[in-house]
């Protein structure tokens, strides 16, 4: 296994388990912006497309061969430094259709795990319920998510803090507080 293959495999398995057990942090092989780069490397190539409002990160996406797409067409969104106006492009992210729900986007956002807001999560991958403390995300993200998620439609969130990733698939019911 080449170093790149090792990195991509480690990243993928972290994401797979993050989405399989929503709310439970998994470890990525790199931290911070490098964690975002690792996810892009593991998932993107010239057969897909992505969006990032971050110019530097967009250049990295382009180097992977993936097409840079406007937010409403991009299956992958990367927000290494989400800000209040990130909500605009997040709101535009595809949620899929009833015949092709898998076209709902994957959104990768940085956050602070252990932050102030407490969420209660329920759904597939969770035995009963689990609580998640998370901050550093655009205000109203949870409101917007509740609006846009109508299972099986919706987006799948990957929340990054350092080298930790928490998955929140569209199947997870999120209760704030």
């Amino acid at each position: 296994m080449s170093p790149a293959e090792t990195r991509q495999h480690a990243t993928f398995t972290a994401l797979l388990w993050a989405l399989s057990y929503p709310g439970r942090p998994q470890r990525l092989p790199a931290g911070g912006r490098a964690a975002f780069a690792a996810i892009a490397e593991a998932l993107l190539d010239l057969e897909t497309g992505a969006f990032s409002p971050d110019a530097e990160f967009a250049a990295l996406i382009a180097r992977s061969g993936a097409r840079l797409l406007p937010p409403q067409r991009a299956p992958y969104h990367f927000y290494p430094a989400p800000e209040a106006d990130s909500l605009e492009s997040i709101a535009a992210a595809p949620v899929g259709s009833y015949t092709e729900p898998e076209l709902g986007a994957t959104l990768v956002l940085s956050c602070h795990l252990g932050g102030p807001a407490t969420l209660t999560l329920r759904g597939p991958g969770i035995a009963g319920s689990v609580r998640l403390r998370v901050g550093g995300l655009p205000e109203d993200l949870w409101l917007l998510r509740a609006e846009r998620t109508r299972f099986p439609l919706g987006w799948d969130l990957l929340l990054i803090d350092g080298a930790e990733v928490v998955g929140l698939p569209r199947s997870t019911a999120v209760e704030v507080g």
Partner: protein
């Protein structure tokens, strides 16, 4: 300069056989499958050096899932040592360098055709089921585009009708293996041709189940702790296969899924289908060290999660 000089030289196969593009594509689809439990996600399904219909769907998932630290178990009809299981295990090991095992407890990834092991799977384990036909609606709707619409609308009326017709004609449900289930209360799903005995194992399970159909190019998933309910009526219940009165000729055990072996003079003897489990029972009987995990069904035939099999009493005491 010639073009041949620019092209990369003919090389050995990548890790896991598939090139990076192939693995990435599968990985993208697998993540979506986990996010939408029970929904069939289309994928490219590349050809592998194993004939189509021989587990290439499961194999593609396994090859893009495992790393050198994994331990893989491969079974066919519950057996680790059948030629097909041996061949798939040999291929996975050759292409990825993983270690292999027959012990369900020692495996991180289990690829299976037609069975779930008897010992309960735990958190962090992945069960990869090979699927010949991913479409549970095929019997009532052979046109795949129409079946897709029915899934989109969660319109499973025809399926319920067919279940009702079985009751009227035969007095019970006549589906054998591949008994259709409703996942997360939303998607009708084929659990692959596992016997009904194994169907409840997927309900609120600790492990992750990935199902993949290579020929039909669809993969889907049951995440851990997800509702998986066989379709049944309020007053007529789903029933697992009858194992009452069957004693394993090798171990003397009861209430596990048994293979029937016909005898020349008529009649049959029985043997537990899960060969990895049998090996450990035999080791324990001979006083060798063997760690045997808790099983889905206890020695009296009770399923470990109470209330999941609503017909349990009937199954245990004979119908």
């Amino acid at each position: 300069m010639k073009l041949a000089q620019l092209a990369h030289p003919r090389q050995d196969y990548s890790y896991g056989f598939l090139d990076e593009f192939g693995k990435r594509e599968l990985r993208r689809r697998m993540l979506k499958a986990v996010a939408i439990p029970g929904h069939q996600v289309p994928y490219a399904s590349r050809e592998l050096p194993i004939a189509r219909g021989w587990g290439t769907g499961g194999l593609q998932v396994t090859l893009s899932l495992v790393g050198p630290g994994d331990t893989v178990k491969v079974i066919d009809q519950g057996a680790d040592d059948s030629v097909n299981a041996a061949n798939l295990r040999r291929f996975i090991a050759r292409m990825t360098g993983v270690s292999t095992t027959a012990d369900t407890l020692a495996a991180t990834v289990i690829q299976s055709r037609h069975r779930v092991p008897e010992e309960r799977l735990r958190e962090g384990q992945a069960l990869v089921l090979q699927v010949p036909d991913p479409e549970p609606l095929r019997r009532v709707q052979p046109d795949s585009s129409k079946a897709l619409e029915m899934h989109a609308d969660a319109d499973y009326a025809q399926m319920w009708l067919s279940l009702y017709e079985q009751l009227v004609r035969f007095g019970r449900f006549v589906q054998g293996a591949s008994y259709p289930v409703l996942v997360h209360g939303r998607y009708l799903m084929s659990p692959s041709p596992i016997p009904r005995w194994d169907t409840p194992d997927l309900h609120q399970a600790a492990h992750l189940t990935l199902l993949s159909a290579g020929r039909e190019k669809r993969l889907y998933a049951v995440p851990p702790y997800t509702d998986v309910r066989p379709i049944e009526f309020e007053d007529v219940f789903f029933q697992v296969e009858q194992m009452v009165g069957r004693v394993c000729a090798v171990t003397g055990a009861r209430n596990k899924f048994m293979d029937a072996l016909p005898l020349a003079g008529g009649g049959s003897i029985f043997r537990i289908s899960d060969t990895g489990y049998v090996a450990k029972l035999l080791d324990a009987a001979r006083g060798k060290p063997a760690t045997i995990g808790p099983t889905y069904y206890d020695d009296e035939g009770r399923f470990f999660q109470p209330g999941v099999l609503r017909d349990e009493g009937q199954a245990r005491n004979g119908r």
